[in-house]
């Protein structure tokens, strides 16, 4: 009899090669069936089943290898694992930045075998090409969502080809990147701005998902280093002491909102801050301060009647729902959670040719277990 054990099952449609699955416990065993690959029958290089056990911490797979033969294999790194997203400031290992290539709106980072996935949040340290006098230290300490280019390169959104930026090369000493494991434990909150489009309304772009909704009330904290300091909520010369807020009128995507502040006459935003000004440089920020909404999140064809809030997006691809119940849109909410993660690691041995457990649009069935008795 299993008096205190936990069992859970479910399915999802993959949006890529990796997936977080939130469940009310950290499992000791996970079994996956890639239903899409199973139904497809004999197809080269397709995983049909995967199993992970916490005792051995190995992800074992079965399926059709690159020769369309039924075979077994393992995902040695970045396979299945349990997770507990409970406290801030949990980081992955520091990795050496080999080189950077600044661009008008993005910056490419070469990091050998970085292992990151598109959507991961990272932070940089020590981005100096010449120690403390040149490089890209303006970007240090800012959380960035990455877009994976290949196994050794990724990009982040930041205007980094200005005169005050110098590309890094040949693995400068102290230049590191690390993954922020759980950047979204509470939402909405403070976001770092990487671009502002001025106009009768103001378009704000952020380095990580803003988690704002239409009707969100926002404030800005922008020092004169970045240009558009007129957006700041104080001081207010019209009603001294009364902060000036803006309201989000549309959400373009997870990183872009339009705010109802006329910024036509304001100073242009710039990220071209001198390296000599980096010490004490406060980042440009947009802060959620309230909302004017009256209802909860709308239902979708797959949601409950009273759905919980979306995290990291506003209902489009890549979003997921918090494990809480329904709330007013724009409310401060918790997103601490636990469950298991399916990584995008590739299957070995070589009979498998860079196969992953799943791919975009695959339907995956999962079964998770926590046992009363386990040895180990």
């Amino acid at each position: 009899m299993a008096e205190y054990s936990r069992m859970a099952k479910g399915s999802f449609t993959a949006t890529g090669a990796y997936q977080y699955v939130n469940i009310p416990f950290q499992p000791q065993k996970v079994v996956l069936v890639n239903q899409t690959n199973q139904i497809a029958g004999i197809t080269a290089n397709k995983v049909v089943e995967a199993m992970w056990d916490a005792g051995t911490n190995k992800t074992l797979v079965k399926g059709w290898d690159n020769n369309s033969a039924w075979n077994t294999g393992t995902v040695a790194t970045n396979g299945i694992s349990a997770f507990s997203a409970n406290l801030a400031f949990q980081f992955g290992a520091q990795q050496q930045v080999v080189a950077t290539t600044g661009g008008a709106s993005t910056c490419n980072f070469e990091v050998t075998g970085h292992g990151y996935n598109t959507g991961d949040v990272v932070m940089f340290e020590g981005l100096y090409s010449t120690q403390y006098t040149a490089g890209m230290p303006q970007m240090c300490g800012i959380p960035f969502t990455i877009t994976k280019v290949d196994a050794n390169n990724f990009t982040v959104t930041w205007a980094s080809n200005g005169s005050n930026y110098t590309n890094l090369a040949a693995s400068p000493s102290g230049a590191y990147v690390k993954k922020v494991l759980y950047p979204d434990l509470y939402f909405p909150g403070v976001s770092v701005i990487y671009a502002i489009t001025k106009g009768t309304s103001t378009t704000i772009k952020t380095t990580t998902p803003h988690n704002m909704v239409v009707g969100q009330e926002v404030a800005f904290r922008i020092t004169s280093d970045w240009g558009t300091s007129q957006l700041n909520s104080l001081p207010n010369n019209t009603i001294p002491g009364s902060p000036i807020y803006g309201f989000v009128t549309s959400v373009s995507d997870a990183y872009t909102v339009v705010v109802n502040i006329d910024s036509s006459s304001y100073t242009a935003f710039t990220s071209n801050v001198a390296v000599s000004n980096v010490s004490g440089l406060t980042f440009p920020q947009m802060v959620a301060v309230g909302d004017v909404n009256t209802g909860g999140w709308p239902i979708t064809s797959t949601s409950p009647y009273y759905p919980s809030p979306f995290v990291n997006n506003t209902g489009t691809s890549g979003a997921y729902r918090s494990i809480n119940g329904p709330a007013i849109q724009g409310a401060f909410a918790n997103n601490t959670r636990q469950g298991f993660f399916i990584g995008s690691g590739t299957v070995t041995p070589v009979a498998w040719s860079s196969a992953t457990i799943m791919a975009n649009a695959d339907v995956v069935l999962w079964y998770a277990y926590l046992y009363d008795y386990a040895n180990p």
Binding site: Y186, E217, R221, N324, F332
Partner: protein, 323 residues
């Protein structure tokens, strides 16, 4: 002559349990101290709503002698919502443990669960503040990093920022007294800092930092208070947030939360505050072998005055490791 000693006639029971338990190292829980406390009514939905009126335009234009009323104003308000969340943890204890262990297992496990719950309450507030409060990078210390180490100008800047935002200070000042080495303390906001920064504060003695021991009297000092700089009184805790190796020069970054009254609100659920739940083994399987001890609570949190709170980020003057 043969001497009988403990080598051939040793005690039958070698150990004796000391009469008192040792203390459990527990951080100061500062975040709950500075939070406003609000209770969300039962049967009141999932989300608590705060309302803050906006200031009206002061009528500084004279009416003149036309006899015509000026245009009316439209009052406005800001709304802040926070969703309630539920938390809990517990232990399953086999009856043989309770029956055979010499110490009162249920008593000390109950105590640890209660402390764990209180610490969770504080850590949730801590991490929420990290995510929601805007940041100012320290620049005053001059170590060249971003953020820099703390200098007294950082305290002055943050206090001036909150003052400009018309935040309310927590503490009225302490008047000077004729006590050797003491100095008056200004009316103050609170700053919640890491214990690891205490050497940096000590380094500012004589240039703005007043140790709590040098207050004219420390009747109003809190147990975790280490001192003050200008209009900020500093509380430290080992659980204050630190982002390790995260500065521009690869040093640890400390999040010092500086706040005034009503900046942070802690909301509990009426009828669902901390509950310690003991279930006798009777309620477990057919042989009634296992008791359970658990705690659960509900909590929401909100920045109710965003203008009255800032995270002052800093590094340290020296990078010595606390081991």
């Amino acid at each position: 002559m043969t001497i009988t000693n403990t080598g051939n006639l040793g005690p039958m029971i070698l150990q004796s349990l000391a009469p008192a338990m040792l203390y459990v190292p527990t951080p100061s829980m500062n975040y709950i101290i500075v939070a406003d406390k609000v209770s969300m009514p039962a049967n009141g939905g999932t989300t608590i709503r705060f309302m803050r009126p906006r200031a009206l335009q002061p009528p500084t234009v004279q009416l003149g002698n036309s006899g015509i009323d000026p245009p009316a104003q439209v009052p406005q308000r800001d709304i802040i919502d926070a969703q309630m969340a539920f938390f809990g943890t517990g232990c399953i204890i086999n009856e043989q443990v309770i029956l055979q262990d010499q110490e009162g297992v249920l008593a000390w496990v109950s105590e640890r669960l209660a402390v764990a719950m209180r610490q969770a309450e504080d850590l949730i507030l801590r991490d929420y503040i990290v995510s929601a409060a805007s940041q100012i990078m320290a620049a005053g210390g001059g170590n060249g990093d971003n953020p820099a180490n703390l200098g007294v100008s950082d305290f002055s800047l943050v206090a001036a920022t909150l003052d400009t935002n018309n935040a309310y200070k927590f503490m009225s000042g302490i008047l000077g007294e004729d006590r050797f080495g003491s100095g008056p303390v200004r009316s103050s906001y609170f700053m919640l800092s890491s214990t690891e920064l205490q050497p940096d504060f000590d380094n500012m003695v004589g240039s703005g930092f007043i140790s709590v021991w040098n207050y004219p009297n420390n009747a109003s000092a809190l147990p975790s208070e280490v001192g003050s700089v200008y209009n900020i009184r500093i509380l430290t805790s080992s659980e204050a947030p630190v982002a390790r190796l995260s500065s521009a020069r690869d040093a640890d970054v400390y999040y010092n939360t500086v706040l005034g009254k009503q900046a942070l609100t802690h909301i509990n659920q009426d009828g669902y505050s901390m509950q310690l739940i003991y279930r006798d083994p009777y309620y477990s399987g057919m042989l009634a072998q296992n008791a359970t001890l658990a705690v659960k609570f509900a909590q929401a949190q909100a920045l109710t005055q965003d203008t009255a709170i800032r995270n002052l980020l800093c590094t340290r003057l020296s990078g010595s490791v606390f081991a």
